[in-house]
């Protein structure tokens, strides 16, 4: 597949035939199930869109039965920005229902396969976007990342996935999972493409009150792999990861050293606190964000005997098991008598995590960590929800702290699956993040 950078040079006619070619290839690969459907807006470069980003006239459903058939009446801000940059929303990609999951198995449209091994999960929740890019069925894609939902599927499928600083990219038009954690980001074939797509979608948006009102300019035109950085590594933090991941970590450290970067050892607090703070915060926000799906104004209503029964039936039949589990968890942690013990405490932990990162970034430019404890696993391998939650340990603290991070393929595991690692930067230091990632990517290739 041609890269986004190359696609920028295509003529109108070439873009038309590229889209025809893509459509044919997608139709030839139905079992992959990366796309839910393939619609196109405009005459620009095709960009695949995760099914929780609003595109006018599209059925945007967040992979949920409760929204099946719902037609979005407006464009998300990122879609407006794509259109203004001569890019075309092209195809809805599959995802875990309401972005709650790490495998893209919980979609009402069925699971997406990992293009590198159909027995393995593509990761999630942006598994459709990752699989589409990895399978050569998309030039680039948009995903959303609440606790690793861009970075982890990117790592599982061997592509680049980037989560911007919280507030960098407007959330207006992103079907919300957890408002204080969600960010839309690029999923691409390489670091430079990620920077190009990031430049297009980022920027202050008055429609999103949590959007950062600052103007730091673009990064892709200033990309420089030769800037030397001080990069923190966290050996303690990595010791529970699989051997493949630890090997990749060592390899990346060597590559970064040979590229002239300075490596320093740091420690991060036990990620078990991240897990608690994350699942309490995310489910509390999610339970209220998903309360609007009541079947009254839109979406699929299941008529009950009375109002209360209609709410119950609609939501019991409309939401899948994992979504229901998180709604219940969120209601529990917010309920009176438990609020202080759970939600308030989780916010304290969250600010400790932020402080810990701030302290490290006082000394270094970047932190290198794994994306996931292991590579893409086989379907059904993680049947216990708690085990699944624990598989997010390396990604969620980045969301809790609102930091920018990028996942890129570093190695190949003994089973042939890609191993991705992530670089994390200080808030708004996206230029540093992309420069460091490009340096690593260039050196790995060279």
């Amino acid at each position: 597949m041609i890269t986004l950078k190359e696609a920028l040079k295509l003529s109108k006619e070439e873009l038309i035939s590229l889209k025809e070619e893509l459509k044919a290839k997608i139709a030839d690969n139905p079992e992959l199930n990366a796309y839910i459907d393939v619609l196109n807006v405009g005459e620009g470069i095709p960009i695949a869109i995760k099914d929780n980003i609003q595109v006018t006239g599209w059925s945007v459903t967040s992979g949920s039965n409760i929204l099946k058939g719902y037609i979005a009446p407006y464009n998300a801000t990122v879609i407006e920005k794509l259109l203004a940059a001569n890019m075309s929303p092209f195809g809805r990609t599959n995802m875990d229902e309401f972005a709650m999951g790490s495998t893209t198995e919980s979609s009402c449209y069925g699971k997406t396969l990992n293009p590198l091994n159909p027995n393995c999960v593509p990761g999630g929740s942006s598994g459709g976007s990752a699989a589409a890019v990895a399978a050569g069925l998309a030039v680039a894609a948009l995903g959303s990342d609440t606790g690793g939902s861009i970075r982890q599927p990117a790592a599982f499928c061997g592509i680049v996935g980037m989560k911007p600083t919280y507030g960098r990219v407007s959330r207006y038009g992103l079907g919300a999972y957890a408002s204080s954690l969600d960010q839309i980001g690029p999923m691409t074939q390489n670091v430079e493409d990620a920077a190009i797509l990031y430049d297009i979608i980022q920027g202050y948006d008055p429609k999103d009150s949590t959007s950062a009102d600052r103007n730091d300019g673009t990064v892709s035109d200033k990309l420089d792999p030769n800037v030397k950085y001080k990069i923190a590594i966290v050996p303690d933090y990595v010791k529970d990861a699989s051997e493949d991941v630890r090997n990749a970590y060592e390899k990346a450290i060597d590559v970064l050293k040979s590229a002239g970067h300075t490596i320093v050892e740091k420690t991060l607090m036990d990620p078990k606190y991240d897990i608690s703070a994350y699942y309490i915060t995310a489910t509390a926000e999610a339970t209220t964000n998903l309360a609007r799906y009541d079947g009254i104004r839109y979406g699929n209503r299941v008529e009950g005997e009375n109002l209360k029964d209609t709410f119950l039936q609609t939501r019991s039949k409309g939401f899948g098991a994992e979504v229901q589990r998180r709604i219940m968890l969120g209601n529990f942690v917010l309920s009176s008598g438990y609020y202080d013990a759970y939600y308030v405490k989780a916010q304290k932990v969250r600010s400790l995590i932020q402080q810990e990162y701030n302290k490290i970034f006082d000394e270094v430019d970047l932190i290198l960590t794994p994306v996931a404890p292991r590579t893409a696993y086989e379907f059904g391998a993680l049947s216990d929800p708690l085990e699944m939650y624990l598989s997010d340990i390396y990604t969620i603290s980045v969301n809790l702290a609102g930091l920018p991070a990028i996942s890129l393929p570093v190695d190949t595991a003994t089973n042939g699956m890609p191993v991705g690692l992530q670089l994390i930067a200080a808030p708004y230091a996206e230029q540093t993040l992309f420069n460091g990632a490009l340096s690593l990517e260039t050196k790995l290739k060279g």
Binding site: N52, I53, Q54, V60, S62, L67, Y70, A72, P73, Y74, A76, R171, Y172, G173, L174, G175, A176, A178, S179, S180, P206, K207, D208, S209, T210, A284, E285, T287, T288, A291, R292, D294, I296, R297, Y298, L307, F311, N331, L334, S335, S336, Y339, Y343
Partner: protein, 475 residues
């Protein structure tokens, strides 16, 4: 002996152009569900953006009641499922409201005063409306997301009368600073009353009962009186514990009773937590300066009227209680008439003639018309008595003051020539009485005035008439 404890929660709809978190208009009476957008319909992905005007107006209220204005406040989500609440949570301010710790002074008729503490005033979004038509229920979301200011008093009121004085003062203040239309019938000034009783001298608070959404001051007074009576009766009958429970009751205007809203109340758990879609609300220095400068308040206007126009405290408070009335009065004065006359004609003559909720400003008599009428009296064009006739006529038929005076033939004759001729005629016809008067029977002066008035069919200017008569009789 019992003591009544009353606390009031008032929802004031802020009169901003657009809704609290989106740019939809707040205007009334549009076709159902037309003033809506992704945000106030709670469509997937839509986000709230705070309307700064609502924040400014809420802050102005804080200034008006001498409250603390929190330079940093927060919004919270209050969760509950109901069809008129599109997101199934209300965005409100539980933990840190914009306004805290204010006071409001109420004035009793005997001139005494009492300070009522205001616990807080917070900004929140209104719900839509459910419309039930037989077996079908509809939802209109035009009102959803309209800004409300919920003003919560401390339980400082001890009688229905005090509650009404508080509400009237509060109503007057929000109208004066123009943050709300405060129309009770249209629901832009909604009152919830919390009532409990306790034996006099007891410090503890007993079970409070909430009475919701009563749409006139008169009914609020009745509802409180009736609820207090119910609680006292239960106490005296020894069934207080069983019958008086913490609940919400409705006031039935027809049956004159309060009634439990639900059979058995489910304890609502609103699961409040900070609204993650909105950042903390900062009142910056410019906004704070803006918030601190508010229009003249009712009490200040009253003082000014007393000092500048030498009218009584009582009259001044009657006129300034209502902003429209105060403006009406000021407009009358702009015609250069005496304040004392303006007061009489506004309060006694005009208001005395109005009924059924009609106020001077909604009556057919404009301030300029009434002022003109007073001016004509002061100019001697008509007598005070004739002016009353003119006012009656105008209320009935409308019209131009001078034309009506002319039409009714009420213009006073101040033309000395005409009056002299008329008086000469009377004196000639009553030469005997003139002789008697001149020999010392002073009382006959009244007789001559009466005759002359009669001859002029009441149109003679009494002052001019007196002067001429005195001069002629002295000859």
């Amino acid at each position: 002996m019992f003591e009544t404890i009353i606390g009031l929660e008032v929802h004031v709809q802020l009169n901003t152009q657009s809704k609290l978190f989106c740019s939809c208009p707040t205007s009334f009476n549009h076709e159902q569900n037309t003033n809506t957008c992704p945000t106030c319909l709670a469509l997937p992905g839509a986000l709230p953006v705070l309307n700064k005007e609502a924040l400014r107006k809420a802050g102005m209220f804080g200034t008006a009641v001498g409250a603390t204005i929190n330079r940093t406040s927060f919004f919270d989500r209050k969760s509950y499922f109901y069809p008129d609440s599109p997101s199934a949570y209300q965005i409100t301010q539980l933990y840190t409201p914009i306004v805290e710790h204010g006071t409001l002074v109420i004035d009793f008729e005997d001139g005494s005063q009492k300070t009522i503490r205001i616990n807080r005033a917070h900004i929140e979004a209104d719900a839509g409306k459910n419309i039930h038509e037989g077996s079908i229920s509809k939802v209109d979301l035009n009102r959803a997301g309209t800004p409300l200011l919920e003003i919560v008093s401390e339980p400082d009121m001890r009688s229905a009368e005090e509650a009404i004085l508080y509400l009237k003062k509060l109503h007057s203040i929000v109208r004066y600073i123009d943050i709300s239309d405060a129309n009770m019938q249209e629901g832009s000034f909604r009152v919830d009353v919390n009532v409990s009783i306790r034996p006099k001298g007891d410090e503890k608070l007993y079970t409070r009962v909430e009475i919701k959404n009563i749409n006139s001051f008169r009914f609020i007074q009745r509802a409180i009186e009736i609820e207090v009576a119910r609680q006292k009766e239960a106490w005296e009958d020894g069934v207080y514990e069983e019958e008086i429970v913490q609940e919400t009751r409705l006031f039935d205007q027809v049956k004159q009773e309060t009634r439990s809203m639900r059979g058995k109340e489910e304890a609502a758990d609103y699961r409040y937590f900070p609204e993650p879609d909105l950042l903390k609300v900062i009142v910056d220095d410019a906004m704070y300066a803006d918030i601190c400068s508010i229009p003249e308040l009712p009490d200040a206007k009253k003082e000014r009227f007393v000092n500048d126009f030498a009218i009584s405290e009582y009259h001044a408070s009657l006129i300034t209680a209502d902003l429209e009335n105060a403006h009406y009065f000021e407009e009358m004065l702009s015609l250069g008439i005496s304040a004392k006359n303006a007061v009489t004609w506004l309060i006694v003559e005009l208001q005395g003639r109005l009924s059924g909720g009609v106020t001077p400003s909604t009556s057919p008599i404009s301030a300029v018309m009434l002022g003109m009428l007073v001016k004509r009296i002061e100019e001697g064009v008509i007598s005070g008595k004739a002016a009353k006739e003119v006012l009656d006529y105008l209320l009935e038929n409308g019209g131009d003051i001078d034309e009506v005076i002319e039409k009714l033939g009420l213009k006073q004759v101040s033309d000395t020539g005409a009056l002299e001729a008329l008086i000469d005629e009377i004196l000639n016809a009553n030469a005997d009485k003139v002789a008697e008067y001149k020999s010392g029977k002073d009382k006959l002066f009244g007789f001559f005035v009466g005759q002359a008035m009669k001859a002029s069919k009441g149109s003679a200017n009494p002052n001019t008439l007196n002067e001429i008569l005195q001069a002629k009789l002295a000859q």
